[in-house]
Symmetry: C2
Subunit: 357 residues, 2 copies
């Protein structure tokens, strides 16, 4: 493997000194980029794009051609694991992801088998290896997975949901069935992320998109506990380097203290949390990633720069901050606005790392 030329992101995840705050964007390879839309049109559909390592590599690298980003993230979908479990993932226009089969009874849960990535999801590890080769040490590559709770919501509901009625019905009425489902998913995610690490992922992120829909107590048991199981099961070092793990619970701002005890190296923050306050609460234990409201990218470059400056000042001096949006970049954003955002981080952040300038 080529030597890593830019390790700013990995160093910040471990709260080691950096020359400036590293930056990447959730969903940076996405529909806001015309070159992405062209690749997707060529692929036919979204899953064709995910399941073809060459195409997945192509779109992963696209944002790096435009912007001075400090990390690449594997292009894939969070629902590859339930698909590999046999639920039959497909995408309905305007509806988002759907499954042909659902998981609603104890028997359904018992019938599920933990995923074997090498056998069932080799297209993902092939994509990781391809991207690592093509990156050629430019920036580190992030692998990722959905969280067990987030995956479970899609599996039980059969797709997206507003109120997670059936999933919560299982959670409240049959908590032991829900725990069995979550344990099978956690073990699948461990296998999946470790396979990504062995294939070349240099950090991993767990996306807990729907953890914030849970009550405070239910979050601890049904979302955080399975994520902690994953963190415990992850390969800690690979190829002579620590592999940091990032936990991102959207809407999890009230629970950062317990998230910081999970063993993860970094917590992702959405934009509802003040990052300076978050640092005060947990920053001596973990790095923090985030957290500009993606909707700021609908405003003009001066306003975007102002918001970046506010967040940098709120975090303050020193390492441990990875700049990102508080959620994925949205399809309607002008690529020039994303550029204004990233340039603002590059230009304004060195002053917060004075001993390394």
């Amino acid at each position: 493997m080529a030597e890593l030329k830019n390790d700013r992101f990995l160093r910040a995840l471990l709260r080691q000194p950096v020359d400036r705050t590293p930056v990447w964007m959730m969903r940076q390879a996405g529909r806001y980029l015309p070159e992405y839309r062209a690749s997707r049109a060529r692929a036919g559909d979204f899953m064709a794009l995910c399941s073809n390592p060459e195409l997945a590599c192509e779109v992963t690298l696209q944002p790096l051609e435009r912007y001075p980003l400090d990390a690449a993230i594997l292009f894939s979908d969070i629902l590859t694991i339930p698909d590999a479990m046999g639920l039959g993932l497909y995408f309905e226009t305007g509806e988002g992801p759907c499954f042909r089969k659902t998981v609603r009874s104890a028997a359904d849960v018992e019938a599920l088998e933990v995923v074997n990535t090498a056998e069932q999801l080799s297209y993902v590890t092939d994509a990781v290896a391809t991207i690592r080769r093509e990156l050629n040490g430019r920036v580190p590559l992030i692998g990722f997975s959905g969280s067990p709770w987030t995956l479970a919501t899609y599996m039980v509901e059969g797709g997206s949901s507003r109120d997670f009625r059936r999933t919560k019905q299982m959670l409240y009425n049959q908590p032991e069935v829900m725990e069995l489902l979550l344990t099978k998913l956690a073990d699948s995610v461990i296998d999946y992320l470790n396979a990504q690490i062995r294939a070349g992922a240099q950090a991993v992120q767990i996306f807990d998109t729907w953890g914030g829909a849970l009550s405070a107590a239910a979050y601890q048991r049904f979302s955080l506990a399975p994520m902690k199981r994953i963190v415990d099961g992850l390969i800690k070092e690979h190829d002579g380097r620590k592999v940091p793990a990032i936990l991102f619970t959207k809407g999890g701002g009230q629970w950062l203290e317990t998230m910081a005890e999970s063993g993860a190296d970094c917590l992702g923050l959405d934009w509802t949390t003040d990052i300076g306050q978050a640092r005060g609460r947990v920053g001596h234990r973990v790095a923090l990633q985030g957290n500009m409201d993606p909707a700021v990218l609908y405003s003009d470059p001066a306003r975007i720069r102002e918001e970046v400056a506010t967040i940098l000042a709120s975090y303050g001096e020193g390492s441990g901050h990875i700049f990102n949006l508080g959620h994925g970049i949205t399809p309607e954003v002008d690529p020039a606005s994303a550029g204004a955002f990233i340039n603002a981080v590059v230009e304004l952040s060195p002053q917060y790392h004075p001993s390394n300038s």
Copy 2:
């Protein structure tokens, strides 16, 4: 006016001793009740139900016939104010509320006039007076309004939204235009709630359904500040009795400390906040209302009772807790499950008020 026979709700809002924890449910007059669906079918559509004082009174009283609730809440819609401002509210099946006109430019905002409730929304105050008369002192009546920020999102987007793109574009790019809109809305809400109080509302609640979509800083300026303006402008006492004000920001659990400084008497909590921790943070300044996950009502009576017991124990001994759901009851809930919830509060809560048994 008839003497109030059950003032448990009003006493708890002011943290005065009570014999048991009072309980009501957001959206308690709603689609989960067959008698509500029958009234609505007779009315023709939702706005016909809201704008007819006799029908609004009929559905307001329906849940009180079934359950030992400690408060009634005016049956109305949160979007009556923008409708009175001339935007033309209508309901599209499956789409929720829509406006024929939107408010997107500085000129649009400048053209808006503060609502005069007596002239433009007398159907609401007529409903309040009718309900007070029919309640005949049984329980107190809650008046309500949407928060300025929440109303603004519908006015700018023209209906419901996922990411509030246009509203946030105005907020970030033209903050002074957004503030003018919010000030006009706050002044309209003051007039509206004071008219409800004069007509007989004995407490008022401000529903900030979408405040939780804002960043920590934007929430303070664009949602909480206009709500504080409202609280400052409300009639504090009517008919010899204090009129308590309740602030409910869904997703506002991180901001309770500043909400408690708004002058409101009570904060509504959604289910993501641990109510015991919330009490520790702010309970010496305000009462707390909430906060069971409405999805618990999809589980069986024993499980519902268990969840009620957990929340009562978390709040602990003493007054200042009004039991409620963390958001509105959903249409698919079995009315018997709502009954199990309310009965559990009635039966399990007296032990937390020992000096008043």
